[in-house]
């Protein structure tokens, strides 16, 4: 049996009521008013960081040496050249003899990657593949898309053992339908008229893919427990399901009013949410939208109850949030608006020496330190001489990963002098459960909510943007455990 072994998601902590956007920009296009909230990536997040955090959530408690590949899907990959899936694999501290690939170009690339992983495992060329889909799309201020686009990521581990949802089959369609596009010189998405997108694309492609899938596997609409497909237009979403003969309770709640249209990640986030509420034997169909559609059929197994997702199910991620009520701050986070970075301090970025970063990649991307084989002390970064003053053994180290360890905030500050897009810069000393101490930036928190000794976990983030040398730097930050 080939299918889903585990899943996880990352939904940014920040949400914005769309009315905040409309209040600021609605003067330009009064017809853009859309209700609800959308999820907004923090200033230190991008599609790769969100994918890694969803991946962490997905493979928590699973032997990482058993992962044979990483497929990453996104239309907003930070690197055009340098495989983004490779960053993910290194950050997740996976083996190097694995397959990695970036799937991009269309918002259906999330389901395409999922399908490719299922096919690869089915074909026997891999035992398990981690699929991460993530997007953080920019729309022009004042556009409808600015309100509808949301940021988020989902991750699925596809394999043969311990399958919680059996992959039954898929049906794909492909059309060069230019609803939305972006060339290599565009910063923002462009798109054609919404009514055309809705009537000629959205309302046709998803039904075409889903009905063909259902027919292929001899199912009738009533055999479908949940159909998960993206929402581009609030009123069109339920009508689309109805046209397929689905009752409202068979349609997965679309998170349009809580997270928004998360691009490549969207159908996968919905699939995760559907699994969270599923029962064994449930047939779940998922379909994407973007230059056509992929529709996939999964059937939940008895093992569904064993699913572990780090205590962070999608519902919990939805509940844990911070409302951002400042539109200018959102533009600042997304670098849409150039701001005063305090002269030199905010403009300086470390010069990342690439050969150095390669040498220490497990430390810098994987948060792997060392543990002394003599005294057992974990230490970060990797040490050659044990830091324990009662030991100080030389060259007795083994690699020790901190990214999956929780810690307690020993002390902290909120710094108004350091430059950050979201002052004050909060950072502190983290004592890890199981041993080890280091200091880290904190993110996804307010100074008022930070307390000495509070429980934190690690989250992969952008550390710096070096515009001069064309580079994004990444590292791990501590975040209060979202509960």
């Amino acid at each position: 049996m080939v299918g889903i072994i585990s899943y996880g998601a990352h939904i940014p902590w920040h949400r914005m009521n769309r009315m905040v956007i409309y209040s600021a920009m609605g003067f330009l296009n009064p017809a853009t008013l859309t209700g609800g909230e959308k999820a907004i990536a923090n200033y230190d997040e991008d599609s790769v960081t969100m994918a890694i955090n969803a991946g962490m959530n997905c493979i928590n408690g699973i032997d990482r040496n058993a992962v044979d590949g990483v497929y990453f899907a996104s239309v907003t990959m930070p690197f055009k050249e340098r495989q983004n899936a490779g960053i993910i694999a290194t950050a997740l501290d996976l083996r190097s003899d694995i397959k990695t690939a970036d799937f991009t170009g269309s918002t259906k690339s999330g389901t395409t990657a999922l399908l490719a992983a299922c096919d690869a495992v089915k074909a026997g060329s891999a035992k398990s593949i981690l699929v991460c889909a993530s997007d953080c799309r920019l729309a022009l201020p004042g556009s409808l898309q600015e309100e509808t686009f949301g940021d988020g990521a989902a991750a699925f581990l596809i394999g043969e053992n311990g399958v919680i949802a059996d992959f039954r089959g898929a049906h794909s369609i492909s059309y060069d339908f230019r609803d939305t596009w972006r060339t290599d010189f565009d910063k923002f998405n462009r798109q054609w008229e919404d009514r055309w997108i809705r009537d000629e694309g959205y309302n046709k492609f998803i039904p075409e893919a889903l009905s063909a899938l259902v027919k292929k596997y001899d199912l009738s609409p009533k055999d479908v427990a949940k159909a998960a497909y993206p929402c581009l237009y609030a009123a069109a979403h339920p009508r689309l399901g109805k046209s397929l003969g689905l009752e409202p309770n068979q349609i997965q709640e679309n998170m349009f009013a809580t997270v928004g249209n998360t691009g490549s990640a969207y159908p996968l986030i919905l699939l995760g949410a559907a699994l969270e509420d599923a029962n064994p034997k449930d047939n779940i169909v998922v379909a994407s939208f973007g230059n056509g559609s992929d529709a996939l059929l999964f059937q939940a197994t008895e093992k569904l109850a064993d699913t572990k997702h780090n205590g962070k199910g999608i519902k919990k991620l939805l509940e844990s949030k911070k409302m951002l009520d400042n539109y200018a701050k959102y533009l600042t986070f997304r670098n849409v608006m150039e701001v005063d970075k305090g002269m030199g301090r905010g403009e300086s970025a470390p010069w990342e020496q690439i050969s150095l970063s390669w040498r220490y990649r497990r430390t810098l991307l994987g948060l792997v330190g060392s543990r002394c084989k003599k005294c057992g002390t974990p230490q970060f970064p990797y040490q050659m001489v044990c830091v324990n003053p009662k030991c100080n053994a030389i060259d007795q180290m083994e690699p020790y990963r901190f990214s999956d360890k929780k810690g307690h905030l020993f002390t902290y500050t909120g710094d108004n002098l350091a430059f950050t897009h979201n002052p004050p810069a909060i950072y502190g000393m983290v004592d890890f459960e199981g041993g080890g101490r280091s200091w880290f930036d904190l993110t996804d928190c307010d100074l008022d909510g930070v307390k000495v000794d509070m429980l934190v976990e690690m989250s992969f983030r952008r550390k710096f943007v070096d515009e001069k040398r064309g580079n994004y730097g990444y590292f791990w930050k501590a975040v209060p455990v979202r509960e």
């Binding site: 300086s348 002390t411 710094d415 002098l417 280091s438 000495v452 550390k463 930050k477």
Partner: protein
């Protein structure tokens, strides 16, 4: 292990006016300190056998090596050593010069420290990426500034000793207020205004819980000393000041990575103090050290330093602060010239600026700030951040 005690004497010192010296660069600053220094020692530039130059931020300053000093003063083909040991750079220059004359290799050595900070274009110290940490460390070190790293010590000190933020901040406000008072009496200080506790308590936050007055200024300055072997000292002047201890201690790295460190004191200062007292033969620092210039880059630093230097029992500094022990008229005056608080902290100059005050006090030339019959004066620098630092603990006396 040997000791430097009474082997070396300081026979001349100079110190610039500290402040935002927009009109001068590092060369002019060095000359200003140097001129006073050699006049005080009664020597000519050609009498100097060797020199040590302390600066930290070479990238935003004069660049590397001893050549900038040679160029500024046109010292005639003598050995010059540029030393950098963070905020202890000035003290490190004095240590190098002292060891050299103690070894008998040179008769007269110059130690000079300088830093021109006010050409970087923004407040505070130059950003970490400008060389304060290595390229590797810069890729994982948090977005830390000096106020933030010391603020974390205040957070933990308050938590450890059960002080509410208000109680803790009040304790720290008294530290800064006292220094501001002393600074009003010192012409060379940068900030020369009283700062009442109420004003300090209401100041904007720089890095929680530290506010504006908990942080020392950022300024330009230079200070210099001429050292000779002790047996030659009286040839230069009747009142030389003798070196009793010169200790430098570096963190082992364990404070940052091993969970024993409590972040409510500075372990490296504690170690450096014990070594200095042993070298100087001090048995009871609280009783024997008459006065000290400590590294009050932040109010919390001075507070914990009082405990680390054994001036106050561990966890009890608040009682001594409340009792006024460290005021100019108290039992153990600290920062008699206003400290870093009022002078600001041109990194390479500070250690020698502190020594300048101890030197003047021991000679009885401190004017309105004069401490009564001082026996031992002490200087202390903390270079780096509390869990990862270089400490100097120097003691001088008659």
């Amino acid at each position: 292990m040997g000791s430097i005690k009474d082997k070396v004497a300081i026979v001349g010192m100079g110190c610039t006016k500290f402040g935002e010296r927009w009109d001068v660069g590092y060369s002019e600053l060095m000359l200003e300190a140097f001129r006073e220094c050699i006049e005080d020692a009664g020597i000519e530039p050609k009498d100097i056998d060797a020199a040590w130059l302390g600066t930290q931020f070479t990238e935003v300053n004069q660049g590397v090596s001893g050549l900038p000093l040679a160029d500024a003063l046109h010292l005639p083909f003598i050995p010059i050593t540029h030393v950098e040991n963070m905020c202890a750079s000035g003290s490190e220059a004095l240590r190098g010069a002292s060891y050299a004359v103690a070894a008998g290799v040179y008769d007269i050595a110059l130690a000079i420290g300088v830093e021109k900070l006010k050409d970087i274009g923004y407040g505070g110290l130059p950003d970490l990426s400008l060389g304060a940490v290595g390229k590797y460390e810069s890729l994982f070190t948090p977005n830390v500034t000096a106020p933030g790293a010391f603020a974390m010590m205040a957070t933990r000190y308050f938590a450890k000793y059960g002080l509410s933020p208000e109680e803790g901040k009040m304790m720290l406000a008294k530290v800064s207020s006292k220094s501001h008072h002393n600074g009003t009496m010192c012409e060379k200080a940068h900030l020369r205004r009283e700062a009442p506790v109420e004003v300090i308590m209401q100041a904007p936050i720089v890095a929680w819980p530290l506010g504006l007055y908990d942080c020392c200024g950022v300024s330009d300055g230079s200070a210099a000393a001429i050292v000779v072997r002790a047996d030659m000292a009286k040839n230069f002047r009747a009142d030389p000041v003798y070196i009793k201890a010169l200790q430098i201690v570096d963190s082992s790295g364990e404070e940052l990575m091993y969970t024993d460190y409590d972040y409510a004191h500075v372990e490296t200062t504690t170690r450096a103090a014990a070594k200095a007292y042993e070298e100087a033969g001090i048995k009871n620092a609280r009783e024997e050290i008459s006065m000290a210039e400590v590294h009050d880059c932040f109010s919390i630093t001075e507070a914990v330093t009082m405990e680390d230097l054994q001036f106050s029992p561990r966890g009890k500094v608040k009682e001594d602060i409340d009792a006024g022990r460290f005021n100019l008229d108290g039992e153990q005056p600290i920062q008699t010239d206003g400290g870093l608080k009022c002078f600001g902290h041109p990194i390479g100059a500070s250690g020698l600026r502190m020594m300048y005050e101890e030197y003047k006090q021991l000679q009885g030339k401190a004017g309105a700030r004069q401490v009564k019959n001082p026996k031992f004066g002490m200087t202390h620098n903390l270079g780096g951040l509390p869990p990862h630092c270089v400490i100097s603990t120097f003691i001088v006396g008659h």
